[in-house]
Amino acid sequence: MIERLRALYATGRVALLAETYYHSLAFLVPPPELAEEVAQHRAMLEREFGARPSVLRMTELAYSDDLARFAESQRFTGMLAEGWEGVLGGQPPTYRYCAASAPTVNLLLRHYRLSDDVGFRFSSREWSEHPLTADKYARWLAATPGEVVGLFMDFETFGEHHAARTGILEFLSALPLEVARHPHLEWATVEEAIAGHPRAPLSVPVTMSWADQNRDLGAWLGNDLQRSAFEAAKKVGVVARRSSDPAVLEDWRKLLTSDHFYYMYVSGHGADQGVHQYFSSYESPYDAYANYMNALTDLRRRALDRLGVPVLK
C-alpha cells in the first residue's frame, strides 16, 4: 500500500496532508502532546515520501480558532475545515477563507453535500438521485458557484463502503473525462487550492468537526462513557509522560486514537443502536468502554511500575 501511495505521490498531482500520527484527540490534551504528534507525522511523511506538507488536517476534521493558531505556530499555511452553514453565516463554502485568529492560515472547506453524495449516498437505492453517474456529478460540480469545491471522502468509499459491484470504481475513473467537458472546471491539489487571496476571515470559536448534524465532538465525547474514558486517559497521560518509557508513551498515544471513543457512542433512547454500531468492531458500546478501561488500567500500572510507585488495590 505504501509503495502504491509513493507512486501516486511521485506523479506530482497529489498532496499529502499533515495530521496527528495517531489519528488522535491530542488537540484536547495539554501541550506539548499535539505538537509532538504532528511533528511525528511530519517526520514520517518526510521519511516515507520525501514530503513536506504545508497544510494541516486535524483528526475528524476538527477545527477551531485555537487550532488555527496552533497551525500558524507550526508554520502551516493552510488547514482543512468543514464547510458548515453554522459557521459560514450565509457565505458559500466555495470561497477561499483565512482563519480569523491566524490570518496567515488559509482554509479549504469541505463541500459536505457534494462530498457525501459520493461518500454516503452513491449506492443508496432510496436516494432520489440514484444512480449517480459521472456526467451527472460533473454537471453538478459545473453548476456550483464559487472558487473552490472541496471534495473529501474516505479512502474506503471506493470499494468498501460502496462495493465494487455498485459501479463506484467506474464512476471514479469516468469522472476526470466528464469534468474535462466543462472548461471552467480544473483540478487542484490542496496547496494550489488555498493559494491566492482569501475572500474573508472565518471565525470558529468552538471546535467543529465533520460528524453528525451538530458538527461538534459529540460522536467521540458526547456521553458519560466517552467523557469518563477520555478524562481517565488524560490522567494516565501524566504518569505515562513521567515514566520516560517510550513504549508506555506510545501505547498511551494509541489509546488517544479517536476511534476508541467513537465505539463508545450510545444512541439516544428510541434510536436504533444497530445503525450506530455500523463502524464498530465491538458488540456494544459497553464492551468498547470496558475493554478500553482495562487497557488503560494496565497501562497505568505499567507507568507506575516504571516510576517505582506501588499500586494500591
Binding site: 432510496e126 436516494w127 460502496h162 448534524q213 456521553n223 467513537y262 436504533d272 470496558a290
Partner: protein
Amino acid sequence: MRRENPEEAPGALDSTGKLGPAARRRGRAVEEGALGTPQRATRPLRIVMVGWEFPPNHTGGLGVHSYEITRELTRLGHRVLFLTPFAGPFTPVDGVTFRFPGEPVGDPAARYPPAYWSGASLDSPFENATDGYNAWVGGLRDLGPVDVVHVHDWFGTLGARELAERLGRPLVMTVHSTEYDRSLGHPWDHILAREQAGVDAALRVIAVSRHLRQQLIDRYHADPSKVRVIYNAVRPSERLEHIDPKKRVVLYVGRLAAMKGVDTFLKAAARVVPVVPDVLFVVAGEGPEYPRLLQLAARLEIGDRVMFLGHVSEEERELLLAGASVFVLPSVVEPFGIAALEAMAAGVPTIVSRTSGVAEISSSIFRVDFWDVEEFASRIAELLEYPTLRAAMGDQGRWEALKEGWPERARETVVIYLEAMAARGVPL
C-alpha cells in the same frame, strides 16, 4: 475516517429523510406478519388455557408468564379459564377462572421431583401425575362456549389436544423451553413425545425467542409457517428504588437447576473475589443443585463471600435487585430469561449467556459464552470497577426492558389466536 453520521449512512435514510429499512433492523416480535387475519378481536374471546404453575406458588418463568399474559388478555376484554393440576391458592386476576382436578396431584412446594430437572431416574409418581392431569383436561365438560385452547409446554398437551378436537377449536401452544434444553441433552422420551404431540397438533406455536423457534423447526420438525415468536416482558415495579452506588452485590436469581449454570457463577466469583474488595455474591433461589453448589463454594474457598438465600418472595427479590450492582444469568440454556429482564427493568446492569432469548432483544447487556468463566469474571469485575459503565448500562437497560411490556405481548398473542381460529374456521 468514521466521520459518518450514522443516520446518513447508505440505506439508513430514504430520499424524504425518514429512517429507512436499515434503521429498522430490529423487527417486530411477531416475525411473519399475519396478513389477511384481523389484528384485533371484534368480540371478547373465550380462552381455555391449559397451564401448569401459577403465582404465588411458582418456581420459574412459566408461572410469571401465565399470570401476566392472562392478566393482560382479560384487560383486553377476553375471558380466560385457567386449568392447573394444583389446588391453589392463586393470585386472583379479574376475568380469570381457575379449575383444578378434585384431587390435587401434589404439594406445590414439592412438585418438581429433582429427577425431573436433572434428567436422572424418575422414581416419583410424576409421570403418572401428569397422566392424571391430561386425562382430567381431556375429559372436561360443561365449559360453555370456547374459542381457542392454549397449552403451555408439555405438561398438558395430550389433554389439550383431546379437548380442542372434541370442541372443534384450534389448539395454540406456547413453548417456554424444550426437554432437550432442560435435560442438557439427555431428554426423557415420554416428555419429548408430549412436546411433539403438542407441536404437531397446534395450529400455531409460540416460542419465547428466535433461538427457540429455530429449535422447534429443527428438532421437532415444526412447520415454520406456524411458529411465531413472542418474547416475555416485565412489569414496571411500583416501588423501584435507586441503587446505592457504594453497594457491591453480584446477584443471581433463579432456580438452582443444572441448566442455569450457577456453578459458572461461583467459579467466576472465585476469580473476582481476590481482585475486587467488598464484593458479595448472592444466590437467590432453590432447587436440586443446591447441595452441590454449596460444596462447590466451599471448595473454591469463597464461602464467606457467597450467600445462598433459598427461595425469596417477590418483595424480597425487588429489594435484592434494588441493592444489586450486577445481575448475572449464566444459564447453559435459557430460552428466554425473564429474571434478566427484571434485573434490567430495575436498572441493574446485566450479564447473560450468549444463547439466552433475552439477549435477542437487548443491546445494553453483556453477552458471554456460558462456559467462559474467565469472561464472566472480567465482565463482573468491570461493572464493579467502572461506575460510569454501571450507570450507563443500567439506565439504557432499564429503558429497553420497559419499552415493550405485557400489554404488547397480549396483543401479539390475540393475533395468533385469531390466526388459529381462522385456520380452524371458528367464526369471529
